[in-house]
Each structure stands twice: as C-alpha cells, then as structure tokens.
Symmetry: C2
Subunit: 233 residues, 2 copies
DNA sequence: CGGTACGTTGAGTCATATCAACCATAGTGG
DNA sequence: CCACTATGGTTGATATGACTCAACGTACCG
C-alpha cells in the first residue's frame, strides 16, 4: 500500500486541533493536505502585513503569533494572539480585502499556508465547515465588541488585570506557574492600549499588593481572585 | 394562477435589499417567506435584550435600530446601528449563545423575525449564502477591530469628527443637508465612548469653527474635509 | 402649570500621557 | 576583555485631556 506522508501529517495536526476540520471529508482533507505549504518562521518575522493582498490563510501548528493594527502614528494595537490550532488571515480571504492587520511571530512558529480557493470551496461545499467557521468569526466578533466596551469604560488598571487573567487562561502556565507567554512591557501596553510607563507602574503596584510576582518578563499570578476583583467582571 | 402574497412580499423586500438573499433558490426563499414573522416596533421598544436566548434573527425592513452593550455600571456602549436591509441577531444564533447586545428601536421599525433553524439550514445548504454571511461577519469584525484601535489611540475630539462623518456616510442627509439620523447627546457619547458633557463641548467647538451647524439634534455638516482632517485618516 | 427629559456651562479633580533622566543587560566589534 | 551601543525597564516630575459634579437653561407634554 502506498504511503501518503503529507496527508498523514495534516491528518495528525490540523484535524485533531481544530473543530473546523473535524467535518472535512477524506477527500477534502486530502485536497487541503496536497495544497498547503508548511513554513517555519523565526521570532520577529512578519507573516503578512496590513494592507497587503492575501493569497490564502494560515493555520498555526506551533508557536505564538501576534496580530496587530498600526495606528496613524505607528503605534501598534494588538488585536489578539494566535497559537497552535488557531487560524489567521481568513477574514481578508473571505472579504476579499487587503489584510487589515499585521502578524508577527513572537515565538518560533510552524505555520501552514492554505490557498484562498480551498477555503472558499470548503465554505461553499461543506455546510458543517461553514457553520464552524461562522461560529469562530462570530466568537471573535463578540470578543471584539466586548473589549471595545471594556476599553471605553474601564481604567487602565482594570484592563491590565483583565488581560493578565486572559493571558493565563489562553496560554497557561509553566510548572513553576510563570505565564507561558512572554511579552515586553511595550507589548503589554499595546494590548491594553496605554503607555508603557503606565503598564510598568501598575505591574509593580500589583506586585506590591501581592497579586503577582515579577522577574523581568516572567509573570506569576499569585492571587487570581484579587485580580478578578480589580478587573471586575 | 394562484397568488402568493407572502412570498411576493418577501421577494420584493429582502431579496433586493441584501446580497445575502440574492443567492437563495425559489424554494429557499419560499421557506423563509413562510416562516418569517413581520413585526412593527415603536421608537423606544426593545427587540431583544443582552443575555437572553434568541429564537432567531431579524431582518430590518425599515426604521433605525440601535445596538448596544451595557457596561457593569449600566452605561451603554453603542456598537452599531441597523437600518433597512441590515440583519441583526445572527451572531448569537450562529454561536448558539445568549445575545451579547441589546437592540432598541430609534425610529419606528418594521422587522422580520426568521427562526434559527432557517438560518442554520441556509448556511449549511447554500454555499453562496454561507460565503455572503461570512463576508458580512468579517466586515463587522474588521470594523470592530478598527474602532478598537481608534478608541485607544485617538482623542475624543478626533473620534467625534470620525463618527459624524460615518453617520453621514451610513444614513445620509435630508434635502436640507441635515443628517438623517437623529441622536441625543447622550447617544452620541455612547458611540464615542465618553461623557455627554464632552460631546456637547466638542460639538459647539466644531460649530464655532464653522465645521458643522447645530439646531438641537439636527446636525448639518458644512466642512467635510475639515472634519476629515480632525479625524485624521 | 409643573414635571420630566434633555441640553449647556463652569469649576475642580483625577487618571493617564508625556518628557526626561537613569539603570540593567546583552551583544558587538575593536 | 573592555568600552560601546542598543534595547528594554524603571522612576519621578509635570502636563493635560477628559470626567465629575453642580447649577441652570430649555422645551415639550399631559
């Protein structure tokens, strides 16, 4: 019997990690497998850039990727992060618009590129896939709207507490309870949407109040309920 | 030959107004027509409320509807408006989650309610419909992300200028050039995400600078380029 | 005619940004 | 091996945008 190493690779990666691909037929999965290209990116590299045309979307196998928009003065606003199992860039493919975000690799990543027509065919021909992708988009939309409300109505301190908890929930902790995602103060400020100095001040405030432990970029959350109360939801 | 007034009604309304329904087969359209319920809402009435379960989504025939989220202290953040041809509430239907926004009628509206299973069947069985709905969602997502960046990086004055231009573009003007959508100062503040008093101050600043004309809630945009420059995009 | 909701204005306060100086660390090249 | 530079982190002082509070004006409505 002939082996299909590529197919097997995809089968063992994408399928298991994302409900999206759960509903693909063997045929569709093979189509994806044969047309995708796996690429490795080092920390700091840009996968695609705001304003550029996309030739497909990406499925993240490993690593962490930062997705952000640039404001008019160059200050970046981080929209979200993507990690193993997440897909990125599909918005622009579906809308057939230039990318509205830039994606930069935070931790060395392995990423599969899947061409536009494959995605559109899947949405068109596989109802379950379409529903799952819609769910994903709607989830992102809900989160975006929630965060908009937060940004407008909460203080920087409250948002920082919220973000720390969110990062903990999304990326988890090492055995020593340090947050797995490691960000510069500037990156934290670009999530919260504030000045770097403000982040520094509130982080050390949290430290002094015994809510977190700090060692450079290593952040350990000590008092989850305390932070939750500050974030107030 | 037998007449189908209900079908005809839907045919003359929804189909023409939204690309979404352009791709429905005659059969699908009839299914929608037979299962939808048209309701009339007066100014001030709530169509659905944040946190409630939805039994379907809505298609706006006429009127203007305000879609907002409530912050923890009750202050509302307006997410967007819906007008003739827009569909609302589909996010919650697709995600199968409680509504994450409240919708309140700003101007007397005629709205069609279409039950959940119809929407899901359309997404599942009609690829073109699925793609169009995805496009719509992705467009909203892109706008939400853009506005998030704005809120974080721009001043209230800049955002107000931007919102005024946006309201002009979305709802248009009367023959006398007054913006068609009429909002209280508080509602404006709930879009921009600021205090009512701030809106009042900047509106009169714009007036004094000859950018707009004010007569109560009637706003006339006199200097579009000037506002654009303030909004700076 | 009084009530209710909306609009306006001014004064004071506060959260956060900005600016500036300085420290820590890690390459890098002479 | 040591300045040298770059990058990120920290702290304090100051500036300012925007909120809050409070008073008052305005207009419509029963």
């Amino acid at each position: 019997m002939v082996q299909f190493p590529i197919l097997h690779d995809c089968d063992s990666c994408v399928t298991k990690k994302h409900p999206l691909f759960r509903y693909l037929t063997a045929e569709e999965l093979e189509d994806v497998s044969l047309n995708r290209e796996t690429e490795t990116y080092k920390r700091g590299s840009i996968i695609y850039q705001e304003g550029h045309r996309m030739k497909g979307f990406y499925c993240v196998q490993s690593g962490i990727i930062k997705i952000y928009k640039s404001g008019f003065d160059g200050k970046e606003q981080i929209i979200r992060f993507a990690k193993s199992g997440d897909i990125i860039g599909y918005r622009s493919v579906v809308s057939n618009e230039p990318a509205c975000t830039t994606t930069e690799v935070l931790e060395d990543s392995k990423v599969c590129h899947i061409p536009t027509h494959i995605l559109l065919n899947l949405v068109r021909n596989n109802g379950d896939f379409a529903v799952e992708l819609m769910k994903l988009t709607c989830k992102e939309l809900g989160e975006a709207n929630s965060y908009l409300t937060d940004v407008v109505q909460k203080t920087v301190k409250e948002r920082l507490a919220e973000i720390l908890l969110h990062l903990q929930a999304e990326f988890g902790e090492d055995p020593d309870r340090v947050l797995k995602i490691s960000l510069t103060r500037e990156e934290l400020s670009n999530i919260v949407g504030t000045a770097t100095e403000s982040i520094i001040r509130f982080l050390s405030e949290f430290k002094n109040e015994g809510l977190i432990e700090l060692k450079g970029r290593k952040i350990k959350i000590l008092d989850r309920p305390g932070l939750k109360q500050i974030a107030n939801n």
